[in-house]
Amino acid sequence: MESRLRKVIVCDPDKCNGCRICEYICSYASEGVMNIKKSRMRVVRIEPFLNVAVTCRKCEDPVCVKACPRDALKQKPNGVIVVDENKCNGCGWCVETCPFGVIRLHLDKRKAIICDYCEKNGFPQCVEYCPKEALKYVTLDQAARESSKKAVKLLMEETVIGSK
């Protein structure tokens, strides 16, 4: 798959309110349990006004893959990064290098865990369950187009449409 067709999970900070439903559902979708500490999604809150949920960005030439000293991480053509649990020894170098801080070590297994975009469910469950549609599963180009629209709307609505 060409990398420009890769879809990623993006979050609209205006809509994200920090409810963490994505974290709860992620722990279920990826581990079959209720435990937000096992989520592959990370809800970030910066007081007093900022909320955003972040997960694996499917970077081009991802630094986590390069960083792994045991070659345990591989990126698939669709961008998903998979961890070979037999090779991973939990050194955490990938956790440290990920610029978005969205890799964790599994609490019990002590192996790297990374969002796999719910490959087995066919669709990211965090996006499915986000009650405010803050999370979207789109290509970066689609995400950018949405941002453009939003910006134009904000800037132009009053001057063009609102002036009637």
Partner: protein, 616 residues
């Protein structure tokens, strides 16, 4: 059983020792969690509550989550705190949400009991099974927001969730609350003062364990449905405007208290409406953990109060705004920030200051007694100054207001008791008494004191399902039904804003069973609600509560409303008596408001039947 962690932590603050107790299945089935567990354990731990000084080491401070905490359950991450209240002298109880309950459950605990008193300021750290009482000397005097930051910093992990008291709790202000995650509070009944009396500054918790669910697949499917319903009309006003949507609705109905409940409308209602707030002050809408609604509207103040930030809900807005004659959102945002950071309940604070303003305008409180503050209605600077002094117990005025409106009016006397707006010592919330009369019955019989959250009986008034300007015997049943359902909601514990999305009580039972695996029907769970309510009443009866305490303040009967929409509205005493009789009849209590042996035995409350119950 699943859902529950199955154990609670007891912390003897006097000896610095901890121990572990088990949560039995019979407890789970009969009392559900939250409110039910609190009623059961407070009753058992304080066998002679009338003899207990609430601010002495003999009082207990009990924290409980419910079976749903730590799961994806719709708006189900809440915890509750109990003690004999220093404000009311009876069953003290408050609920908060956010992430705290989820962390506590994930750490493997359903609840925490604090007994005794720590020699020096301390805080409790819970990190899964690792439990430690730590020194809090350096935190003493800090605001709630500073305390959270400092504890996270020193424990080295932001994922600790902190519930703390501010300076008000430390100084045992009777209106003091407990705050977690900045904007979430165990607001009412002065439970923050109980924490302060125990030298307990905070509880910090981090949990990493799975919360076991009986039918996790079924739960996730049911929650998807419930969360979808939460995007429908039943919760629309909460999503868009938050609870401040009520300002204009109530103003139109003449039930928006203003000027210390002298009136039921406010001339500046537009300026402080939810609609205006969204346009000019709301900077961010946030949700509690697991909530698909998101009602919390965080404001940013402007102009002279620039930099002030607070989460403003209807009750805070109405009591600190219209009830004090304030029609300015910047001042209100600042006032809520003072309450949240220094740690007092906004409802009680706005109520007692409204009372003081009326005293001042009527010449009952002199300028000397207000420490020189020109405490007129509508004077924003005076409100903010009075609030700070209340929180810090500063000067004559601060020390007086810190006692709450019942005690303050008893101290001042001179007729001010007549317009001290409380029931059983708890300050009346922002629902006018004379223009919402079913609501008033519900407030007055509540187990906590004047309380809109025990039965939600204002709804039939506001929705026009009854004649809200009079009372009759049938209103007793409305309050009774509401109380039983709310007892379940508060025991599970879920947010009351979801009440409209559950199709029937059977769905509460279904949710309970999916999570716990314990079989439960709608009838059984409602019975549990009735049991829980009766148990809390039994505690109150032991504290001396009876019919005489189930009345609204004199203003309800004596001062007809002046507002055009509800002109002359007043509660007729004989109608109120009739409605109260109707309520007791539904409850199976005596005419004096005491549960009968027969009713208590029917509910399986055998010990209570023996100790409290009367013959019919």
């Amino acid at each position: 059983m699943k859902g529950y962690a199955g154990k609670y932590l007891t912390v003897d603050l006097t000896r610095g020792k901890t121990s572990i107790g088990r949560v039995e299945e019979s407890m789970a089935i009969n009392y559900i969690g939250g409110y039910g567990f609190g009623a059961r354990t407070l009753y058992d731990m304080l066998p002679n509550p009338a003899q207990i000084d609430p601010l002495s080491p003999e009082n207990v401070l009990i924290w409980w989550t419910g079976p749903l905490a730590g799961t994806i359950s719709t708006a189900g991450n809440k915890y509750s705190v109990f003690a004999k209240s220093p404000l009311t002298g009876i069953f003290g109880f408050g609920i908060s949400s956010g992430l705290f309950a989820s962390e506590l459950k994930s750490a493997g605990w359903d609840g925490i009991f604090f007994t005794g008193r720590s020699e020096k300021p301390s805080y409790l750290m819970i990190d899964d099974d690792n439990v430690e009482l730590r020194d809090a000397s350096h935190l003493w005097g800090r605001t709630t927001w500073e305390t959270e930051e400092m504890i996270k910093e020193e424990l080295g992990d932001e994922s600790f969730t902190v519930a703390s008291i501010g300076p008000a709790g430390e100084k045992m202000v009777r209106l003091a609350n407990i705050t977690n995650e900045r904007n979430r509070q165990v607001g009412r009944c002065g439970l923050g003062a109980v924490m302060g009396s125990k030298n307990l500054k905070a509880v910090a918790v981090r949990g990493t364990k799975d919360v076991e669910v009986f039918d996790i697949e079924g739960l996730v499917r049911f929650i998807a449905d419930l969360n979808e319903r939460c995007q429908g009309p039943a919760t629309e006003k909460y999503r868009i405007y938050g609870t401040p949507a009520n300002i204009l609705v109530h103003n139109k109905l003449g039930c928006l208290p203003s000027y210390n409940f002298q009136r039921g409308t406010f001339e500046y209602a537009e300026e402080v409406s939810g609609e205006m707030m969204l346009k000019t002050h709301v900077k961010k809408i946030i949700a509690c953990a697991g909530c698909p609604i998101a009602c919390d509207h965080v404001n940013q103040a402007r102009e002279a109060y620039e930099g002030a930030t607070s989460s403003v809900d209807y009750e805070s807005l109405a009591l600190l705004g219209p009830n004090c004659g304030i029609g300015n959102l910047d001042i209100i945002t600042k006032a809520v920030e003072i309450c949240d950071t220094l740690g007092v309940d906004t409802i009680s604070a706005g109520n007692v200051i409204g009372w003081a303003m009326e005293c001042y305008e009527k010449g009952i409180l002199s300028k000397d007694e207000t420490d020189g503050i020109d405490l007129r209605f509508g004077n924003g600077e005076a409100l903010l100054e009075a609030l700070k002094r209340l929180c810090l117990k500063e000067g004559k005025l601060g020390s007086l207001l810190a006692e709450g409106v019942r005690r303050a009016s008893q101290i001042v006397g001179r007729g001010s008791e007549k317009f001290a707006m409380h029931c059983k010592g708890l300050e009346w919330a922002a629902y006018e008494l004379r223009s919402l009369q079913t609501s008033t019955l519900g407030f007055a019989v509540s187990n906590r004191g004047a309380d809109y959250l025990r039965s939600g009986s204002y709804q039939v008034d506001v929705k026009g399902q009854v004649d809200r300007l009079r009372l009759d015997r049938s209103r007793g049943k409305i309050v009774y039904d509401g109380e039983n359902i709310y007892a379940i909601i508060d025991s599970l514990i879920i947010c009351k804003f979801t009440r409209g999305i559950f199709k029937s009580v059977d769905e509460f039972a279904k949710l309970y069973t999916l999570v716990t695996g314990l079989s439960m029907t709608g009838d059984q769970i409602i019975k549990a609600g009735e049991r829980i309510h009766n148990l809390a009443r039994c505690f109150n009866v032991k504290c001396g509560i009876s019919r005489k305490d189930d009345y609204p303040p004199p203003r309800a009967f004596e001062d007809p409303l002046p507002d055009d929409v509800v002109k002359g509205a007043v509660i007729k005493r004989e109608e109120y008596d009739e409605a109260l009789d109707g309520y007791y009849e539904c409850r199976g209590w005596s005419r004096d408001g005491i549960p009968t042996k027969r009713k208590l035995l029917e509910l399986g409350l055998n010990k209570e039947a023996e100790e409290v119950g009367v013959e019919a």
